[in-house]
Amino acid sequence: MQYTLTEEQELLRETVRRLAKERVEPGARERDEKGKFDWEMVTLFRENDLFGLDFPAEYGGSDAGMLSLIIAVEELSKVDASAGLLIDLQELGTLPIMLAGNEEQKKKYLPKLASGEHLAAFALTETSGGSDVAGFRCQAKKDGDSYILNGSKIFISNGGVADVLTVYALTNPEKGGHKGAAVFIVEKGMPGFSVGKKEDKMGIRWSDTAELIFEDCRVPAENLLGAEGMGFHIMMKTLDFARPGIAGQALGIAAGAYEYALAYAKERVAFGQPVFNFQGVSFKLADMCIRIEAARHLLYKTCAVYQELPKDMSRLSPEQIRLSAMAKCFCSDVAMWVTTEAVQVLGGYGYTREFPVERMMRDAKITQIYEGTNEIQRLVIANTLK
């Protein structure tokens, strides 16, 4: 394991930082206000080949590894958390295929996802169960050479815009979620699949979050990933591999808020001097700096470990699972704390929409909730300590 970034990763960071500053930051406030999915961002990331950073080269990806993806997510999230999320969701939605897909499925779906021509979504959560897998109801009944899906999903990121969705459903309800579930590849436009209500959210406002409805939706049996009964395992492993993405988003939000607050504190004058000169302010910034650096090290270490692991259905060790849960939990807690303090450093201005830190504070909150709440992360971590 190498402890410094490679020359390529440094140049990627520089490049994405520039692109973020020149092309993403200028519209961030407006996109947040409108709360509408932004296809121009999709085009921008397609043109700059940012969707397939961690996709295998044989399917059109850059094969640059998880750390490279996370660096890009971090740099985009510094200026716009929904933008960072967008490229990360491509990874999340596709991971079930990368982990459990067969050759034909990979050949059919990965290239267009790697290029960003198609967008991906990962559909697990239902109204009857978010944290609790036992609550899931969505069913898939075998019928000849296809499965019939019935049920609904809620809060699905990219749900209304994705072309390819990986959907978790019960094939054998008697056996329950742990043994009786499977994951299916569903394509936009399949008869019986429709998009329901879109959420109006506190943060990541232009990211599309939607309800998915399956009414006798016929999915070809060849779209089953792995085998019946593997659903729980596929979903868990997907989340283990995907959590660093959310950690990267959180880290970016934190770093963006910190950089803004630091520059502001050096400019803003009170009592005849920059507010940075007051220890009450500079210590806040010192604490932000400590936590962000610590979060970054934990996350990069996690990525360095994960990018050496095969993307298949082999089991992860408790240490590996713990690392990914710790990175997600710690980075998101840091993001929430840092953004709240950043608003404080800016005083009344920080509370207004004229300045970006209140948006960053709203955006930070989701990172403690999705892809497993931080309570669930602590549960996962504690389970590995038994």
Partner: protein
């Protein structure tokens, strides 16, 4: 079509300039970038190559740190790079142009592109000097280039309008803002860049002696502009304010 791009690494446009103890410009901790006008030249070279085929070769004079800028342009899609380190304390436009011209003549070319000026010293001399040494026509500050058989048609900004000129190739053309919008390197490009050739040379490799390239201009002193004092707003009714202004102009600013 063999296209040479003359490229310089400069301070970031947002860099804060300070002087060190010896009164020299402090380079410590400053973010370095491709001179933005040269970046237009790189982009244009790539577009011409994509349309007409050929090769894009980057040539730069500077310290080893310039490799970073060259790597970035290689990641954008240029084919190879040559970096000449003059190993001198200070260089002037004569030095740079002499070295560039020598390096370029050894490479062969159909077209030479560069930025019309560098944003750091802003002298806007180097490309023109290279053209002079190589006995080539030069068209400055172009905002559009069309390549046709053996010639280039270039549009340049002039006061109040545009001028379209035709020039036979080979020629030196310098890029002005508006020529294009440079692409960002992609990760695939970045990963390929590492495998592309980057030659490092010194003066001896080009058959130049230190004397032949020695600068003719010597910098005597660098100094920073005086910090601007805070403005002053005169309050009160207009007649009193005017009187106060006149008084301040006479007694404080001493301009009347």
């Amino acid at each position: 079509m063999k296209i040479i791009v003359l490229m310089k690494q400069t301070f970031d446009t947002e860099a804060k300039i300070t002087l060190d103890g010896q009164g020299k410009i402090n380079r410590q901790g400053v973010n370095l970038i491709i001179n933005p006008y040269d970046e237009f030249a790189v982009e244009e070279a790539l577009r011409i190559k994509e349309k007409h085929g050929g090769e894009v070769v980057l040539v730069s004079v500077g310290a080893d740190s310039v490799q970073e800028a060259l790597r970035q342009a290689l990641a954008m899609g240029a084919d190879r790079a040559v970096l000449i380190n003059p190993e001198m304390e200070e260089v002037d436009e004569f030095t740079t142009a002499t070295i560039l011209a020598r390096a370029v003549s050894g490479l062969g070319y159909d077209l030479i592109l560069g930025g019309w000026r560098a944003i750091d010293d802003g002298s806007a001399q180097v490309a023109g000097r290279v053209a002079e040494i190589l006995d080539l026509p030069v068209v400055n500050q172009v905002t559009k280039i069309e390549i046709e058989a053996g010639k280039a048609v270039a549009t340049r900004d002039i006061e109040g309008g545009n001028e379209v000129v035709e020039v036979s190739l080979p020629a030196v053309l310098t890029a002005q803002k508006g020529l294009n919008e440079p692409r960002y390197p992609t990760m695939k490009g970045i990963m390929q860049a590492k495998k592309k050739p980057m030659e490092k040379k010194n003066l001896a490799d080009l058959g130049l002696s230190a004397d032949q390239a020695a600068p003719k201009v010597k910098v005597l002193e660098y100094f920073l502009p005086k910090p601007r004092a805070a403005g002053k707003i005169l309050e009160g009714e207009v007649p009193e304010a005017v009187a106060a202004l006149v008084k301040a102009l006479r007694e404080e600013a001493k301009v009347i």
